[in-house]
Symmetry: D2
Subunit: 343 residues, 4 copies
């Protein structure tokens, strides 16, 4: 951490900062310039952070030097990408995962029809929501346990591993039984007790970036899982909130290469929620794959016009094979190969 003193800071103020740094067992390295003095504090980040030097007399600015995440950082694996194995499907590295399925599990027929269609088109995993976080308490909240049962049936038939969301730690046992990858939604990205609980299960987890979470905060959310000894974390960019109102969220594709510079974890992109309408899903999917994403998680429905939620953004199951083929070519541009079941 670097502590930048104000231009007019007194010698006593400088000495006081140095003493406080040393009081927590860290070392202080002052550099006295002509205009300002900068003091490097070397030691335990949390201890120095707790000093709250931002408010101390004579201090202009406190600049963190080390990243606050450790296990999620690129350094911890010396630049080697994490590759997660989900029932034989590889996520990360040179593998591209196509995760597809309905927004919400609505019925047996809808779930199985979609699962068959995406399986036939080469999808890597099946997504589908049994518990749905809804802005309105009056909206459909998901089929719950019955939804989980239908996903299990779809897996039994197609062999596709299941990605499904956990919203409440009290449902964790039911979800763990069916899910091959637990999804943490954007609204729960900073639900730290949920993240720690999931960490303790050891299950692969896909964490969606909060609507206005920085990449650092996303990596800190991952850190909560990793710290519990669960290395199987997948990061997911799904659109951030900006001033633009011409579409729903602003998909932040710069996040893809930046997260890969900062972390060894796989990064997938959800184009459906950001787009909010079908016509944008394909161009954004191709863009995400070309930008180097490790996968796409996309919504597909047999009859989107009759979907209970988010119909306008769901792809037609009947058109999914053509879409998958284009995405595969875009991923190839970035050097990635579609992740399928080993034959």
């Amino acid at each position: 951490m670097m502590i930048v003193m104000k231009a007019g800071a007194s010698e006593a103020e400088i000495e006081s900062v140095i003493r406080r740094i040393e009081s927590v067992g860290a070392r202080a390295h002052p550099s006295r310039g002509e205009e300002v003095t900068v003091i490097g504090a070397i030691g335990d980040r949390e201890h120095v952070a707790r000093l709250g030097l931002e408010g101390a007399p004579g201090v202009a600015q406190v600049v963190p030097i080390l990243k606050p995440y450790k296990l999620a950082s690129q350094q911890v694996r010396a630049g080697q990408a994490t590759v997660i194995d989900v029932e034989g499907r590889k996520i990360g590295g040179e593998h591209f995962s196509l995760i597809a399925g309905p927004c919400t599990v609505e019925s047996r027929d809808q779930t199985l029809t979609t699962a068959r269609a995406v399986s036939a088109a080469g999808a890597s995993l099946l997504r589908g929501g049994a518990y749905k976080p809804r802005t309105s308490p009056y909206a459909f909240q998901g089929l719950g346990q019955e939804g989980l049962r239908l996903l299990a049936e779809a897996k039994a038939e197609t062999g596709l591993p299941i990605v499904t969301e956990l919203m409440d730690a009290r449902d964790i046992e039911a979800v763990v039984e069916v899910a091959d990858v637990i999804q943490v939604g954007a609204r729960n990205m900073q639900n730290y007790s949920l993240l720690s609980e999931i960490g303790r299960t050891g299950k692969p987890v896909l964490i969606k970036r909060g609507l206005s979470s920085t990449l650092e905060e996303l990596l800190m959310a991952a850190e909560y899982v990793l710290k519990e000894g669960n290395p199987n974390v997948i990061l997911c960019e799904r659109g951030i909130r900006t001033f633009e109102t011409a579409y729903r969220f602003t998909l932040d594709l710069t996040a893809v290469p930046v997260l890969k510079e900062l972390s060894h974890l796989p990064v997938v992109v959800d184009p459906s929620h950001a787009a909010g309408r079908r016509s944008l899903v394909e161009p954004l999917s191709l863009a995400a794959a070309a930008a180097g994403a490790d996968g796409i998680i996309v919504e597909v429905h047999p009859q989107p016009d009759e979907a209970i939620c988010d119909g306008p953004q769901q792809l037609y199951a009947a058109e999914f094979a053509e879409y998958a083929e284009k995405v595969e070519r875009a991923a190839a541009l970035a050097g990635k190969v579609l992740s399928n079941m080993p034959a």
Copy 2:
């Protein structure tokens, strides 16, 4: 809901939209203009919303007309403000609540010293965190149950009702025993199962606006509590995330009069977290009170330089009386009187 058709929408497309509106039991009112046709859909909002007409052929735009919240809306109480009674202190209406105390409960001495200082200066309630949501899993996470015990002791001595945060539904019984107002933090504003649980307790609840939550989403979070039969909801503006980096969050004081136009619920402001440093807390507090807020929730510490978290933004307990006096005058400008214990 108004459905705006595209300029070139065909008669068949218009008819199809009308039929779909009628299929969920709503009525369709088409207005055929020279350039575009607009169709009003009158009926159950959720049913019409589920139609997903945004994606339908010929549809340009779907414009919601009615607000999605009902119990939180101004209309439901015909413009009469909700006034909540917390152990004799009134929150809302012409009452101004000064809620003060430490960011985090750290020790018996720190808690009691602060409680005495804010009580002597006329504070309405005591705030203090026992469970702390922290971005880093390596940071201090609060004293937990021991923290709750210290708050109970501070209340026993000073008579100040307690505001404290609940992060995990599994701690609800312990928190309800001590808290007079349960705080829901910004990161949990859309933790819907937590909100519903709190709704069922009937306890007053203070809901902080999420970092990038719209006012509509904040009111929808309130709706989750109200729907369970708990009318005691306090809204809290605490700063939103913007592009500006010269300070921590952008305190959105326009939210105060706008929330009061939209809802009957009390609106308080937390200037401490947005400011991030002490020198900004007083000007922002005066501004919030002058803008018509129903209260301020502010952090105070006997020795902020030694605080475990957020020291730089906490006010000095010794200077709190002077601060409180100024805030009281600003609240008077907006026609409000400090809410104290009835003698």
Copy 3:
């Protein structure tokens, strides 16, 4: 325009709104629902907008139905894309333009070396700044007329048409003499007198989206040029300002397909300024091309480490051919072919 009345609006308030709409020669179409009344106003948009009905008694909301831009709208050309011819290079439609060159014209050697490299690699046009808008008045402001002269020399040698920025209407004659496409920078996107002047020259113009301009505002800026009878407008997405600080600007690739739905004008993407560093330029370029952009405008320098401005984001001229080849393949995914000089 739809005027949504408040739930409790009186009949007199409704009548008053209707009378005001009719007073400017528009027609009013009221729909009286059970909860609210909505009044459609059909007539000249500007006249109705001037009524300022947002503030009128009983009015809840005014919802614009028609887009405020006309000449930039998709409708005006019945869905046919505009293709602009710049000295034989086509911009728009199925053509993909690779516009490359230095951020700033610094010297004869730098300009000619870069021009030769990008020309050899198949670039469509040469970009380079002679007048540079700089946040700091102490920073290098460009070579001005000497810079224009060097660009003219580069064009004479390589045949590449020139894209260069105009900042001040008083330089318009000098710039028009050399530029084949006039660039309007993000900071000047709403400099309306500059836009109108450029409109009157008839020269092709590339308008960069402002840092926090909506797509509608970008199209309105285009409208200022189109209104003067100049149909040769190219839109440019170059990154918007968000809360994220891990990189410079957030490149908004959703803007690409959305602008193409709204308008017939070509849309190019500038990945260099958003990225702020070289390692991000290639993934973002591939993403932009895959998303369906009509071109890329990218910064290239023979020795970026010695560049006067924005060195860290400029591509190495020596590596440009390899980059161009990849971008060409990404553009092909979206059905576009690199726009070169006809043989």
Copy 4:
């Protein structure tokens, strides 16, 4: 400037950075920590910035230490506030300026009626637009020179100095003749040639913050004027663009105390444009004054319902005296006195 090296940076990379710093005449101060090395670069900021070290091998981050503005900084006047004298009215320091008048000069009657009303209520200066920047080329663009003539007449009658906007450097002579304070609109905040021209006139200038400009960029815009030898710069917060759509712009009142910490220049607030509707103008005005603003610039009209532009946000001239009296009391809370003509 501090250059933070990557964790694994080699000694050669560190040496290379040191050599590049020294090559522009600056001095390098390396601090070698256990995990990372940080190198302080002390010397001319612009020279070091031009090195573009962000992209250099082994460099993780470049952290600016000194502010890029000089003449606008607090330090340059050793903490003493600038007080500007405009025809006897003082702006800055303990003076509070109430700048009021119509959005747009529409007619002789409207201008004089408003001027008389705000003068009688104790306003400090008269505002009014003759040249109006409009998002739509089809909207009313102001009366131009005729508007300036009407403002001159209003000044002749009431004695109120005039604040009016300059949009195009080619109108500067006409505007300077009538204006006592030249206004630079938010859209032109980074129109650097306009700022420099105004700097050369020596006239007081009020610079509105751009919709998504940082406080640092606002101070850099001021620097463009100050650098030309014109010390009479007033900063104006007028709302920034955020994700919130419940009102027009987010008024950033934290900017007021922060700008006063960073700079000696007066800071005024425009509540009208941010609010977009009348009912929000008073609470935001009181909040701005209580937060310590040096003044308010607010829109007033005799018949807002008939205003050509922005009617819904303009205060009724007949109610202005009552408003002014409340704002004066809020300013008093922050220790300021209404600035009027000396008797």
